[in-house]
């Protein structure tokens, strides 16, 4: 007997539960915010990220140019048309290891969540996903109209998408594994900048 059939067999041999617990449909109302944008910015700030509200990409560009991490970056991989410079072309990258030297990356986020400051980034917008984690600094760009209140609303939208790698990013990489002292910049990005456009 294979382990597969042994495990499934053991699970099926269990005494029947009195009545299978119903699966809640999760359609009930969950918390919303009177000013979701303000909440998003406050939460992301509290976890070490920075939010820039920019009516246009031009305004975002000005704010980006003022960022020391961006000014000092030698290798920049920009994936958002109309924002920032770029001297790393992802379409020519066949081996993700070569992204090791990227200082600053700019990528598109598809959704922002007010309750926890998370931004959803999907692989089709960042063809080599390693970029998101290996870059020293990361900037994400999301439309103001993509902001949702909570994770339930977020998944309701994401379920429409195809099954591709995606990640909620909320703040820069961090750790508190040494005596509970918060240190920003564990393995991934040392800073996270989120531009909310619109």
């Amino acid at each position: 007997m294979t382990s597969r059939s042994a495990i499934l067999g053991a699970l099926r041999a269990r005494p029947k539960a009195p009545s299978p617990a119903p699966l809640p449909d999760l359609s009930e109302p969950f918390c919303t915010y009177s000013d979701p944008l303000q909440h998003f910015a406050a939460v992301l700030g509290s976890v070490g990220g920075k939010v820039v509200l920019a009516p246009t990409l031009e305004a975002a560009e000005m704010a980006l140019n003022a960022e020391p991490a961006y000014q000092q970056a030698r290798q920049v991989c920009g994936l958002v048309a109309g924002l920032g410079r770029s001297n790393v072309d992802l379409t020519t990258v066949s081996d993700p290891h070569s992204l090791e030297t990227v200082d600053f990356a700019i990528a598109r986020g598809r959704l922002a969540v007010a309750e926890n400051g998370a931004v959803w980034v999907r692989e089709s917008d960042v063809p080599t996903r390693a970029l998101l984690f290996i870059t020293q600094h990361l900037a994400l760009v999301v439309g103001k109209n993509t902001l949702v209140n909570n994770m339930h609303e977020a998944y309701a939208q994401l379920e429409l998408g195809s099954a591709e790698f995606g990640v909620f990013i909320s703040g820069p990489s961090k750790t508190a594994d040494i005596e509970q002292s918060l240190v920003i910049g564990a393995h991934g990005a040392r800073s996270l900048l989120v531009f909310v456009i619109g």
Binding site: T2, S3, R4, I7, L8, A10, L11, R12, R14, P15, A17, P20, A21, P22, L23, P24, L26, C31, V43, V47, H97, V113, E115, N116, A118, E123, R129, A130, L132, F133, I134, M151, H152, Y155, A156, L158, E159, A163, E164, F165, G166, V167, F168, I169, S170, S173, K174, T175, A176, D177, I178, E179, Q180, S181, V183, G185, A186, H187, G188, A189
Partner: protein
Amino acid sequence: MSAELVHLSPATAHPRRAALFVANDERMHWHDKALWFVRQKRDKAAQSVPEWERLRELASQIKAHTLVGLPDYLEEFEAKAVALGAEVHWAKDADEHNAIVLRILEGVGAKRVVKSKSMLTEECHLNPFLEARGYEVVDTDLGERIVQFRNEAPSHIVLPAIHIRKEEVGATFHEHLGTEAGASDPQYLTEAARGHLRDKFLKADVGITGVNFAIAETGGFVVCTNEGNADLGTALPPVHIACMGIEKLIPRTKDLAVFLRLLARSATGQPITTYSSHFFGPRPGGKLHIILLDNGRSGISQSADFKTSLHCIRCGACMNTCPVYRRSGGHSYGTTVPGPIGSILAPARDANTYQSLPYACSLCGSCSDVCPVKINLHEQLLLMRHSVTEKGFLPKLKQLSMTIASYVFQRPKLYAFLGAAGRTLGRLLPHRWVNNRLNGWGRQRDLPPLPAKSFRALYRERNNGQ
């Protein structure tokens, strides 16, 4: 853990190990405070969500539902994951799990493995298994790397190095990473680890991760970290092995909303982990293996009393709040998962070895109050005491005292006589006769002054006075 502890009698294993931890009073209080701080952060985060209690209820319902239909959901998950291009393996125990990992490594000629925190591979003792066969296995979570350098096990499932002082981390890093002698600044030490581990990520042939949630309807799964180690560990090497217990399944994508709202808030008081990565099949050009491990879980799922312990999402909140865990340290449990939940999971699998764990509990119930999936932990710990007793694992001395107590309590006159005798002798006898080395209960405490009259005598007097 020193060698003599390996042979501890199972009946006293936890108290004996706890005694070693408690012997350093200053460290014990430091440890207690560090965890209480995390508990307080959890409270703040929980209170910021108006529907917190409702979320716990929903999470409990989803997990209960999934457990009932688990075999069907596992098959659905497998079919969907395979359709996405993953290879799915089934392991009935730790040995088979490790053998599968080895076969995969051999198949791709791998030598260097980076691992992101996975308590499941700790449970299977994968590291020593692979290291004995010449593989380099690097734990990439900072806390896990610290304990790996020190040849220790994690003492907490979310905060693996919570028992180690920064000066000790400094000494460990000085030895292994060449940091400055005497350096203890967390920022400096973390930066050193970042450089060291980047190199390991870049050179790795295979990345191994755990799984926080696997979704039956899509065949995808979610891994949550703050450091980004699971992401670097899977985005660079061409092969990803994801190891999960069969209880990690949830039915639908939308169920993730409930669990991701609960997990990080319960664990560390964060609104969500920095990275919540959703994997669907291998990355372009890569390979993905998913190992589904039983290792006793199907057995626990048959137990009416303990099956809901499989609802656990490994947040660690029960540890942070537990007055025994905070003061005895994670290593005192001698298990991969310590604390209240570990004191159910371990003896549910092996009652003999872990018979002392259900007693590492004051039955205060705080663990049940903070559990994000509403496991009735303290009630199960009491039931586990019954269970280990029924299996014949009550120590002789406790058996004897229980038998005597039962005999006396069934005989009111004998009880009254012994009570009177005890009150009189307790007052008249020298203190060292009443409380001495032989009385284990009195080692750190003393009896209160004994009353002159029994409760029954006082009750009679009061009624006569009316």
